[in-house]
């Protein structure tokens, strides 16, 4: 096959591209320039769109002896991922920009362009397994990224390759070293790539300005503090609430809900974070259609952790997920990914965007 390998400059995508080459495919490496201000050289482990990352990707392509290009997707990324991220926070939701990037950039704008140019597939360094369009969790449970790929449609999965999903991260690093890739011991990137400082609140504040509101007790309605904008809060958040006095019962308080129009942030005890029912919209089904109108599954409500056995019910508005055990801190704006448990690796059934919880 003709394979376009998306190369971020990290170790995972470099090894993935190498495996695609080994499998006998014709591989071309492409680094996506996503930052509209790429001037800064990366410091530490953060970011995925700096000049240094582009140079690392280029050197990996050299070692793999494949053609390499840098494509400018910065405008598209800003519009579909960064602006979406900011808008979601402004509306009191908690977005997942990596998921959005997979959905809108890597497996949409990039994949569409690759297919039009004559490629058969896009290859990435994601930790997930994709065999014949069946998407499973990665072998390395700590690194599994199937949650941020569950949004892919059947068509997208048919043209996606994740060559390292069957391998653990330490083994990937060892293989990179064996291949002579200098990124073998490059630190992992953990933060949001377009917020290299790691200070999400400052990033959002610079874009949204000050939108003052109140932090109120969810039970009594009493105002406990003022805040500069709902974008500083996420459901389940405990720190940075700005409340001076401890709660009457002495227990910590958490963000329970966010009302963007009034700017009200409701806080309360941990127990009030428990969610039994998750409503979600715009479902994407990996097989092209839901497994049934009502089916058993395992639900995952955030990128790391947040798992519970559940029953999903398909509705006109989307999907309602009844959890067998309560989950805490389920934030609207995040995705709920639904899996079918399987001894060979849980299989992704679909994903939808959380709109409400009970």
């Amino acid at each position: 096959m003709r394979v376009l390998a998306a190369m971020s400059g990290g170790v995972d995508s470099a090894v993935a591209a190498g495996r695609a080459v080994d499998a006998g495919h014709d591989v071309v490496g492409v680094h996506l320039a996503l930052s509209e201000t790429p001037d800064a050289l990366r410091s530490g482990s953060r970011g995925c769109c700096s000049r240094e990352d582009a140079a690392d990707a280029r050197r990996a392509a050299d070692v793999l002896d494949i053609p390499f290009y840098v494509w400018d997707f910065a405008a598209r990324f800003t519009e579909d991922v960064v602006d979406d991220f900011v808008a979601a926070y402004a509306e009191g939701r908690t977005p997942n920009p990596c998921l959005r990037c997979n959905e809108k950039i890597k497996f949409s704008a990039l994949l569409d362009r690759a297919l039009a140019l004559g490629f058969d597939a896009v290859c990435t360094g994601h930790y997930a397994r994709n065999v014949s369009g069946v998407l499973r969790r990665a072998v390395d449970a700590d690194k599994d990224q199937s949650y941020v790929l569950a949004v892919l449609t059947r068509h997208q999965l048919a043209h996606a390759m994740f060559p390292i999903g069957d391998t653990t991260k330490p083994r990937v690093r060892a293989e990179a070293a064996e291949r002579g890739l200098r990124v073998a011991d490059k630190p992992d990137s953990h933060d949001i790539c377009f917020i290299p400082s790691g200070d999400t609140r400052a990033f959002l504040g610079a874009r949204l300005g000050t939108r003052p509101g109140a932090v109120v007790d969810a039970e009594t309605g009493a105002e406990l503090a003022r805040h500069d904008g709902v974008h500083g809060f996420t459901v389940g958040q405990r720190k940075g609430l700005g409340i001076d006095a401890p709660a009457g019962d002495g227990r910590p308080r958490y963000v329970l809900g966010i009302e963007p129009v009034s700017g009200t942030v409701r806080v309360g005890p941990a127990a009030a974070l428990d969610v039994r029912t998750v409503e979600a919209e715009r479902p994407v089904w990996a097989a092209g259609a839901a497994p049934g109108e009502r089916f058993d599954c395992v639900a995952q409500v955030r990128a790391h952790g947040g798992l519970a056995a559940a029953t999903a019910v398909v509705t006109d508005a989307g999907v309602v997920v009844e959890l067998d055990e309560p989950l805490r801190a389920v934030a609207p704006g995040q995705a709920v990914a639904l899996y079918r448990p399987d001894a060979d690796g849980d299989v992704v059934l679909g994903s939808a965007t959380i709109t409400a919880t009970r």
Partner: protein, 416 residues
């Protein structure tokens, strides 16, 4: 003959058709030989003993040969590491010297189609040295008119520090009327620098006759070595150095002279200039053939820049080897990759450090919209080009453009 694109067309070039001579052109065999020969000799041209004198002799003979080839005096040849250094030296050095003589001289007049070595040097002066950069506009073929320069100077002659206008544009190939522009600058007592890296060896370049006060040329665009260039600088022109040290090159450019590179550069300039009339005719023939065949395959493609039928300062009005074309609905990135996969090497314009193709500032200055600017390619011929190179492009351009156009529906910016 058009042929069907096959599986190998995306990824596996068979042989290379090199059509990016404006980026760099193969080093001439006799230049390699001269340079290798010189590299085997030891000697610092500033040393006083026999070996030093030998190196000095090599350098000075080279300087005389370069000067003779481009109509300059040997003392006007300042040896540098190439185009970027020469441009920076001219723009910053002239500005500082002119400003030191008269504090009112803050205006740096540069054309909007300059190479970044000039544009960014001027911008730096405005950000750090109190300069005021004025971009001279161009007409629709990318040419600076003497009238626009005169108007810009006449607005406030006392505040003008320098003028910099390139001899021929590296992207679209349009030649500027340097003699006229220099005459206009001199009417106001302002020095003119011209970046002639694309011109030497394919256009008649005579420094003295041009009237320019400073002129940039570089080796690797004309069959010479990389990292070797010249700033021709009129004898009476004051210029503040960028590099301080041993006082080489009239105190204008300190640094141990790179004798092998200088020897090689002189060889290349001599050969290129001597071969210029023949080479220009061959290159313009190939260029016209390519443009004709591309337009036949892709009727809505357009040639950017001057058509090349006029005469300016005794030479053609367009660089002989330059074909710069816009392909509506295509991304330059896509075209370049598809052609590269066919073994055809060309350019989307001037590459930037991160490797991201930016919409060309030259095309934008000529009035093109951003989508057009992004959907353009430069094919540039040089001394190794043959009709087979034209045929290779003609055989695939139609299908490449078709495919890029399909991919162009997934345009990352603008045009959506």
């Amino acid at each position: 003959m058009a042929r069907q694109m096959t599986q190998a067309d995306v990824t596996s070039p068979a042989k290379t058709t090199y059509l990016d001579h404006a980026a760099t052109t193969p080093v001439l065999d006799e230049v390699v030989a001269a340079m290798a020969d010189a590299m085997r000799r030891t000697g610092n041209a500033s040393s006083l003993h026999t070996s030093g004198r030998r190196a000095r002799r090599d350098v000075e003979e080279a300087r005389e040969r370069i000067a003779a080839a481009v109509g300059a005096r040997p003392s006007e040849v300042v040896l540098t590491t190439g185009g970027t250094e020469s441009d920076n030296l001219a723009v910053k050095g002239l500005y500082w010297a002119r400003r030191a003589a008269d504090r009112r001289r803050r205006r740096v007049l540069v054309s909007s189609i300059e190479h970044h070595a000039v544009l960014d040097a001027a911008t730096w002066l405005s950000e750090h040295e109190d300069a005021e950069v004025e971009l001279l506009g161009v007409d629709e073929v990318g040419r600076v008119t003497p009238a626009s320069l005169r108007a810009a100077l006449a607005r406030d002659p006392a505040s003008a520090a320098l003028v910099s206008v390139m001899w021929a544009n590296n992207e679209v190939g349009t030649v500027n009327p340097i003699r006229e522009l220099a005459a206009v600058a001199h009417e106001f007592g302002v020095p003119l620098h011209t970046d002639a890296v694309q011109a030497v060896g394919v256009l008649p370049v005579d420094f003295t006759a041009s009237g320019a006060d400073a002129l940039t040329l570089t080796g690797h665009k004309l069959g010479g070595p990389y990292g070797a260039g010249v700033l021709l600088l009129g004898r009476d022109i004051a210029l503040t150095p960028l590099l301080h040290g041993g006082g080489q090159e009239r105190d204008v450019r300190s640094g141990t002279l790179d004798t092998p590179s200088v020897v090689a550069l002189a060889k290349a300039v001599e050969v290129a200039v001597a071969d210029m009339p023949r080479r220009a005719a061959v290159l313009s023939g190939l260029r016209d053939d390519l443009v004709g065949k591309v337009l036949a395959s892709v009727p809505d493609a357009t040639l950017n820049g001057d058509p090349g039928t006029g005469v300016i300062d005794g030479g053609p009005s367009r660089l002989p080897g330059n074909a710069h074309l816009s392909f509506p609905g295509c991304e330059g990135d896509s075209l370049l990759m598809l052609l590269d996969a066919q073994g055809i090497e060309c350019s989307t314009g001037s590459a930037c450090t991160a490797g991201v193709a930016q919409p060309s500032h030259v095309l934008l200055a000529m009035g093109a919209d951003e989508a057009t600017a992004r959907g353009s390619l430069r094919f540039s011929f040089g001394h190794t080009s043959t009709p087979a190179d034209v045929d290779a492009v003609a055989a695939v351009i139609g299908q490449v453009v078709d495919r890029a156009r399909r991919a162009g529906q997934h345009v990352p910016a603008g045009g959506r």
